[in-house]
C-alpha cells in the first residue's frame, strides 16, 4: 500500500522517502512526517485501543495532547511504551507496535469489555469484589492488573545516556507560534538574552498547519524567515524539540530537549535527551491553544478527529484522514477546515454546524442548527447520523469527521504554582488570571485567538517583560495577518442514549460524569478521582473542560463555579532517564578514593562502599578462600607485630583562632579548655537534645591550632554544626574552621612493633620513644628525609599505635614506604573488617553504637558530660527520660557455649522470659568473630547492663532463626587495663 491518502503540497520533504513498520507491516512516509501522519497517508486510521473498554481508536489530534494514538516505539532495550504517534518523528527503519490489545489490533479479545460496559460504570469496583474476602487479592485483582496498563517495558536497562544542563536568560519564550516568534524578534533585536523553546521540530506552531498569510507570504514561510533572522543573533538561543515541563519557584523552568529521538539511535557519546534547568528573569508563555471535541454517541471511532488536526494533517503533512470528509463544529474556526480540505482536493461531503446562524461555506452539504448524533464503523468511520434542525435524522457516508467544540488556551504552565485560570465567556474557555511573578502570557494561550492579535500582543508583552528587568525594547510594526474572531457558541455534548466519550483514553463517558454527580462526587477533584477523567497520559488536555461543562450542567452552576482545570507538571510526560541524567548505575553518586587506593588495587584488596568512599575491606592472600581467613590473619598479625590501615576517610577539621580552645570546650561535652599543646584527647560531641552526635580525637598542634577528627560518616554534618555554633551561637568567638580531610593521607600503624617501624620512617631528629612521645601525644614532624608530616599516638585497635599523616599527594608513596619499612616485622595491611574486629575487641563505639538515639550514659561515658560548663546538649541531657535507672548500657557479650555464634540486630530476652516485645531488654549493635579469643563477641545495649556483668541472657534473632545464650561481659575484651597502648 503506498500513501494513497497523500495530498499535494505540505511541509514534508518528498525527496526523502522513509520506510517504517507498524505492527509488522511495512509502510512508506517522508522526512517531516510523524508516525500518525504517515499512517494516515497510508490510509491507516486504526492505531490503538482504549484503556478500559479496549475500543478501536485512531488519532484525535496532531499534537502532544493526543489521547488515543499511543504506540510502542522501537524494539529490544530501546522499546518505548506509550509514545504519541502524533508527535513521534518518522525516521528510516522506524518500527512501532500498537498497544493494549490481544491478539491483534483489529481483533482484541478484551474488546469484550466494551459489551460488558454497563457493568463497568464509573467506580463500579469500589462496590464489589469484596466477598469472599480472600478473592480480591487471589482472583479479582490479578485479573484487573493483567488487563491494566497500556504499553510495556522491555525490562532491559535503558542503553542510552541522558544529559542535564543549566541555562540562564533574560527572557524565556515558551512556544514558537506567531506570538512566540513575534516576541522573540522583539526581544532579540533589543539585545536581550533570549531562549525560544518549541516542542515541535519546526518553528511556527499553527502557522505550519494553516493557510493564512503573514505580510503577504505563507505563514510557514514567514516563520522560516523569522527563524533565519533569530538564528543570526548570538543573544538568541532557539531550542526545537524542547518542551517546557514545569514552572517552578523563582523563575526556574524544567525543559526536555529530545536530542536524538528523531534518529534510529543517538550518535556515539551523544545523549538521547537533555533535561535543562532554565533560570529565566522573565518568561512569556506563548503555548497556543488546544482544540476540544464535542461528545456524541460513538464519537471515538477511528477517523473522527479534531477539526484543526484534520487541517494540520492536510496542510502540513499533506495527508488526508479520509477521502470523504465531514465536519462538525460550533464555531467559525471549525469551518475553515472545509475550505482548506476542499482546496486540497478532499471530498467534503457535509458540514454540520450546531449554530443556526453560522456563516455559510462553499463545500459539501451545509447543515445549520444540526448535530452529529451517532457514528458508525467499528474499526474505522464509515457513516455518521445527523439530526437536522427540523428534528429529522439523515445518514451520510464518510471516512473522516473533523470536530470542533472551540479552543482552550493552553494554560497548563500558568497553573503549576497553583494559580487558577478564569472563565472567558467570549471564547467560552479558561484564560490565565494570575501567573507566576515572572510570567506573562500572549497569543492564543492568553485567548488572543487571531493571528494578528498573537503577533501584536507577542511583541507588546515582550516589551513590557523586558522593561521590568531594565532592558529597552520596541515593538516593530505588526505584519498584516488574519484577524477573525472564532465566534464560538458553547456546545458540549449531544443529548442521546448510548455512550458519548469525554475522556477517550480512560473511557470516561457523559454517563459516567452524570453518575458521578448522582453519587455525590461533584467537586472537580472528586469528579476526576471517581471517574478518572483527565488522569490519562494526556492529562485531560482535550477532556477536562467538556467534563467540567457537563458537571456544571448537572449542578446547575456556572462552569467557573463548578471548578477550574488545574494542571500539574510535567507539561508532557517525561522519561525517568532524563530526570536522572548521568546519575545512574555506578555513576549514581561520585566515588571517593583513598590515597592508598592504587596500592590497594595492586594488592588485590576487596573494596567496600562506606558513604561515598571506597575503602579496602580486606586483602586476600593467595590460597585464602573465605574472607574470614584474610580478616583473621590481618587481625592476628597486627596484634602480634604490626599492621597498617588507611584511615584518611576520617573527617579532619582544622580549628584555629585565639578562642579555638573555648570553642571546642563548648561543642564537646567533655573538657577541652586545658588540653596541652602536643596532646590529643578523645571528645564526645552531643546534639542539643543530649544525644551523642559524633566522637573523635582532637589534637592541639599549637596554642591556637587544633585538628579535630570526626567519624567518616559525620564529617559533613559535624562541620555544618560547628559553623552554626561559630556563626550563630557565638558570633564573636575568634575561631576559624576549614576541612582538611582531603589534604592529609593518614595511616594507622598499629601493633607492638609499630614504633620500631615508624622509627625507620620518621626523621632522626624526632624522638618518638614512649618517654618523649607518650600515649595521646601528637606533633608535627618530618619523614623520609624531610617531608613534613603529622604524628598522633592514638589507638583504635587497643595496641601500641600511631596515626601518621602526610600531604595527600605523597600518600601512595608513604604507603609503599611504610610497607617496605615493615617487611622485617612481617607488617600486614589491614582493611575495614579487621579494623572493625579490633575496635570491637577493644570495646570502642562506632557508627552502630552512635545510632542517633544513644546518650553518653548509654555509651558508659555519662561522667564525661561536664556539668561545670555550658556545652551543646549538656542541659537537655539531664531530662528524666535520658537518665532512667534501667537505662541501656553498652556492654560486651560472648556465647556461653563458645562454638555458638550470634548476629548484630539480635534482641536480648532474659533466659526465663518469653520472646516478645514486653520482655525486650535491648539489642546487639556489633558482632564479630574474635580470632584472639577464638569465639564470637559482640557489643550491645542492655537495660542496666553495667550492673549485670557475669549474668547470662539470650540473644534472640527470630528473623534469622537464631537464639543464643550469651554472657554479659565488659566491652573491653582485649587489654582492659590499656597497658598495650601505653607500652
Amino acid at each position: 500500500m503506498t500513501q494513497n491518502n497523500r495530498l499535494e503540497g505540505g511541509l514534508i520533504d518528498r525527496s526523502k522517502t522513509l520506510r517504517f513498520t507498524f505492527d509488522g507491516k511495512t509502510y512508506q512516509g517522508h522526512q517531516g512526517d510523524t508516525i500518525a501522519s504517515a499512517l494516515l497517508a497510508n490510509d491507516v486510521r486504526l492505531m490503538g485501543r482504549s484503556f478500559k473498554y479496549h475500543r478501536p481508536r485512531g488519532p484525535l489530534t496532531a499534537g502532544s495532547e493526543e489521547p488515543n494514538a499511543l504506540v510502542e516505539l522501537r524494539e529490544g532495550n530501546r522499546q518505548e511504551p506509550n509514545t504519541r504517534a502524533t508527535t513521534a518523528e518518522l525516521f528510516d527503519g522506524l518500527s512501532a507496535k500498537s498497544q493494549n490489545r490481544w491478539p491483534s489490533l483489529s481483533f482484541d479479545a478484551m474488546g469484550v469489555n466494551d459489551l460488558l460496559s454497563p457493568f463497568f460504570a464509573a467506580g463500579f469496583y469500589y462496590k464489589t469484589f469484596m466477598w469472599p474476602k480472600a478473592f480480591w487479592e487471589k482472583l479479582y485483582e490479578p485479573i484487573i492488573r493483567r488487563a491494566a496498563g497500556l504499553g510495556s517495558l522491555s525490562m532491559e536497562a535503558d542503553p542510552d545516556v541522558y544529559d542535564k544542563g543549566f541555562l540562564h536568560c533574560d527572557l524565556l519564550i515558551i512556544g514558537a507560534g506567531p506570538a512566540g516568534l513575534s516576541a522573540a524578534l522583539t526581544a532579540g533585536r533589543a539585545g536581550a538574552r533570549v531562549i525560544l523553546a518549541e516542542e515541535d521540530f519546526l518553528l511556527g506552531g499553527r502557522l505550519n498547519a494553516e493557510t493564512f498569510e503573514i505580510a503577504g507570504m505563507a505563514g510557514h514561510a514567514w516563520a522560516a524567515q523569522t527563524q533565519a533572522e533569530l538564528a543570526s543573533m548570538d543573544n538568541v538561543r532557539i531550542m526545537t524539540r524542547t518542551a517546557i515541563l514545569g514552572a517552578f519557584d523563582h523563575g526556574i523552568y524544567g525543559a526536555l530537549e529530545r536530542v536524538s529521538d528523531h534518529l534510529a539511535v543517538p550518535a556515539a557519546g551523544k545523549p538521547r535527551q537533555t533535561l535543562w534547568r532554565i533560570y529565566a528573569k522573565r518568561t512569556m508563555l506563548c503555548a497556543g491553544a488546544v482544540e476540544r471535541p464535542i461528545a456524541f454517541k460513538n464519537n471515538d471511532r477511528p477517523g473522527i478527529m479534531l477539526s484543526g488536526a484534520l487541517r494540520t494533517y492536510a496542510n502540513r503533512y499533506a495527508a488526508a484522514a479520509g477521502q470523504t470528509v465531514a465536519l462538525f463544529t460550533n464555531n467559525d474556526d471549525g469551518l475553515r477546515s472545509a475550505a482548506d480540505l476542499a482546496a486540497k482536493g478532499v471530498d467534503v461531503v457535509a458540514v454540520i454546524d450546531t449554530r443556526a446562524d453560522g456563516p455559510s461555506v462553499q463545500a459539501g452539504a451545509h447543515f445549520k442548527g444540526a448535530q452529529v448524533v451517532d457514528a458508525g464503523g467499528k474499526l474505522g468511520l464509515n457513516t455518521i447520523t445527523i439530526k437536522l434542525a427540523n428534528g429529522q435524522t439523515t445518514r451520510i457516508n464518510c471516512t473522516a469527521l473533523g470536530v470542533s467544540g472551540g479552543w482552550n488556551p493552553n494554560v497548563h504552565l500558568t497553573s503549576h504554582q497553583r494559580s487558577t485560570p478564569k472563565w472567558d465567556e467570549k471564547i467560552a474557555a479558561f484564560v490565565p488570571e494570575s501567573t507566576p511573578a515572572e510570567m506573562s502570557v500572549a497569543g492564543a494561550a492568553n485567548g488572543d485567538m487571531s493571528t494578528h492579535a498573537a503577533l501584536a500582543n507577542g511583541a507588546k508583552q515582550a516589551v513590557t517583560a523586558l522593561k521590568d528587568i531594565g532592558i529597552k525594547a520596541t515593538a516593530g510594526r505588526t505584519p498584516k495577518a488574519e484577524d477573525e474572531p472564532i465566534n464560538v457558541s458553547p456546545f458540549w455534548y449531544v443529548e442521546h442514549k448510548g455512550r458519548a466519550w469525554v475522556d477517550q483514553q480512560n473511557d470516561v463517558t457523559v454517563k459516567d460524569i452524570k453518575l458521578s454527580h448522582q453519587e455525590g462526587f461533584r467537586s472537580v477533584e472528586h469528579l476526576k478521582r471517581y471517574t478518572t477523567l483527565g488522569m490519562a497520559t494526556d492529562q485531560g488536555k482535550t477532556a477536562n473542560v467538556p467534563g467540567l461543562a457537563i458537571m456544571a450542567e448537572m449542578t446547575g452552576k456556572s462552569i467557573p463555579d463548578t471548578g477550574t482545570t488545574m494542571f500539574r507538571p510535567p507539561y508532557a510526560p517525561t522519561s525517568f532517564g532524563a530526570f536522572a541524567g548521568r546519575h545512574r548505575d555506578e555513576d549514581f553518586r561520585p566515588i571517593r578514593k583513598t590515597p592508598s587506593h592504587k596500592w590497594a588495587e595492586e594488592h588485590d584488596a576487596v573494596f567496600v562502599e562506606t558513604g561515598m568512599w571506597l575503602r579496602a575491606q580486606w586483602f586476600p592472600k593467595p590460597g585464602e578462600t573465605h574472607w574470614r581467613e584474610s580478616v583473621d590473619r590481618e587481625v592476628l598479625a597486627t596484634r602480634k607485630s604490626v599492621g597498617i590501615c588507611d584511615v584518611t576517610t576520617l573527617g579532619k577539621i582544622d580549628v584555629q583562632g585565639t578562642d579555638a580552645a573555648t570553642f571546642l570546650n563548648r561543642v564537646y561535652c567533655n573538657a577541652f579548655a586545658k588540653l596541652a599543646v602536643g596532646k590529643t584527647r578523645y571528645g564526645l560531641m552531643l546534639r542539643e537534645d543530649g544525644i551523642a552526635m559524633d566522637d573523635g580525637t582532637t589534637a592541639r598542634l599549637s596554642e591556637n591550632q587544633f585538628v579535630m577528627t570526626t567519624t567518616t560518616a559525620n564529617a559533613v554534618p559535624v562541620f555544618r554544626h560547628l559553623e552554626f555554633c561559630r556563626q550563630c551561637a557565638w558570633p564573636d568567638l575568634d575561631v576559624q574552621l576549614i576541612s582538611t580531610t582531603e589534604a592529609w593521607a593518614q595511616y594507622a600503624v598499629a601493633g607492638p612493633n609499630s614504633r620500631k617501624l615508624l622509627q625507620k620512617i620518621v626523621d632522626k631528629d624526632f624522638d618518638i620513644s614512649n618517654e618523649e612521645f607518650p600515649f595521646m601525644g601528637c606533633g608535627e614532624i618530618t619523614v623520609c628525609g624531610g617531608l613534613r608530616a603529622r604524628l598522633f599516638r592514638i589507638s583504635f585497635s587497643g595496641e601500641l599505635a600511631f596515626e601518621i599523616a602526610v600531604p595527600t599527594r605523597y600518600g601512595d608513596s608513604m604507603m609503599r614506604a611504610l610497607m617496605e619499612a615493615g617487611e622485617e616485622f612481617d607488617v600486614v595491611p589491614y582493611g575495614t573488617e579487621a579494623l572493625g574486629v579490633m575496635r570491637i575487641e577493644k570495646g570502642h563505639a562506632a557508627g552502630n553504637e552512635l545510632n542517633g538515639t544513644t546518650t553518653a550514659l548509654n555509651l558508659g561515658m555519662g561522667r564525661m558530660v561536664s556539668k561545670k560548663k555550658d556545652s551543646i546538649g549538656s542541659t537537655l541531657s539531664e531530662r528524666e527520660g535520658l537518665n532512667q535507672a534501667d537505662a541501656l548500657n553498652l556492654v560486651g557479650f560472648k556465647p556461653v557455649n563458645s562454638d555458638e555464634t550470634f548476629s548484630a540486630g539480635s534482641h536480648f530476652i532474659n533466659s526465663d522470659a518469653q520472646a516478645n516485645a514486653a520482655n525486650d531488654q535491648g539489642y546487639m549493635t556489633s558482632v564479630c568473630y574474635s580470632p584472639n579469643l577464638g569465639h564470637t563477641i559482640g557489643l550491645g545495649y542492655l537495660k542496666d547492663g553495667a550492673n549485670r556483668m557475669g549474668e547470662t541472657t539470650r540473644a534472640v534473632n527470630p528473623l534469622m532463626g537464631e537464639e543464643t545464650e550469651v554472657e554479659i561481659v565488659s566491652a573491653h575484651f582485649i587489654d582492659p587495663e590499656g597497658e598495650r597502648l601505653r607500652a
Binding site: H583, K593, G657, Q736, L787
Partner: protein, 190 residues
C-alpha cells in the same frame, strides 16, 4: 622541592598529569600548584592587611572574585577567608611560607594535597560547563571565581579567560569521578 624519598602521585593516580582533547576542548589535569587557605583572625584586620600587602602585593579579591600577582593567585572562599595558590616547584610548603608573613593575624591551613584541578580550554568550555553546573559560566568574566556543585561534587570554578579558559578545583578523592563527568559532558557537545 623538599629533599625526601617520597614520590608524588597525580590526583588521577599516575606519575604524569593527564591531558585529554575532545573536539574543541582541552581538559588538563594540573598538579603543579600548591594550595592553602588563609582566614583573617577577628580584630586583626590591620596586621592582616599589612601582611597581605607584603606577601601578595594585591588587593584581596572580594566575593566571587580572584586576583593574581606574581606567583600568587588568590580567590575568595568565605567571609574573611581566601584560597591561595602558588607554583608547587617554589612554594610546596606554602603554609609555612605564609605563616611566616601573617604570624598570628591569620589562620592558615595547608590544602595542597586536598584538591585536584582540571583546566578547561577552548570554545566548548562554556557549553561543556552548561551541562555540569548551575553557575552562569557564560557570563563569568576574567578572574571571576565561585564555589558550586558538579555532579554532586563540590567545586571551585575560576574563570581565567572569559568563555575560553576555566579551572575547576574539586576534592582530590573524587578526581576520577569529576574527570569522568567533565569528559562525558565534553563528548556531548563535541
Amino acid at each position: 622541592m623538599l629533599k625526601h624519598s617520597l614520590k608524588p602521585l597525580t590526583p588521577l593516580g599516575s606519575d604524569e598529569p593527564d591531558s585529554t582533547v575532545i573536539g574543541n576542548l582541552k581538559i588538563t589535569e594540573r598538579d603543579d600548584f600548591s594550595f592553602a587557605s588563609i582566614a583573617q583572625r577577628d580584630g586583626k584586620s590591620r596586621p592582616f592587611a599589612a601582611a597581605a600587602k607584603r606577601a601578595f602585593n594585591l588587593k584581596l579579591p572580594g566575593p566571587g572574585q580572584s586576583a593574581s600577582n606574581g606567583d600568587y593567585t588568590l580567590f575568595w572562599s568565605s567571609p574573611e577567608q581566601w584560597f591561595v595558590e602558588a607554583p608547587m616547584a617554589t612554594h610546596e610548603d606554602i603554609a609555612s611560607i605564609l605563616k611566616a608573613e601573617f604570624e598570628e593575624s591569620a589562620s592558615i591551613t595547608e590544602q595542597s594535597g586536598g584538591w585536584c584541578r582540571f583546566d578547561l580550554e577552548g570554545d566548548a568550555s562554556v557549553s561543556t560547563l552548561e551541562r555540569l553546573c548551575a553557575v552562569d559560566t557564560a557570563m563569568m568574566t576574567d578572574q571571576a571565581a565561585t564555589r558550586s556543585v558538579i555532579e554532586h561534587i563540590g567545586v571551585f570554578i575560576v574563570c581565567r579567560s572569559a568563555g575560553q579558559y576555566f579551572s575547576i578545583y574539586g576534592p582530590r578523592s573524587s578526581a576520577g569521578s569529576l574527570h569522568h563527568a567533565l569528559v562525558s559532558a565534553a563528548k556531548s557537545v563535541a
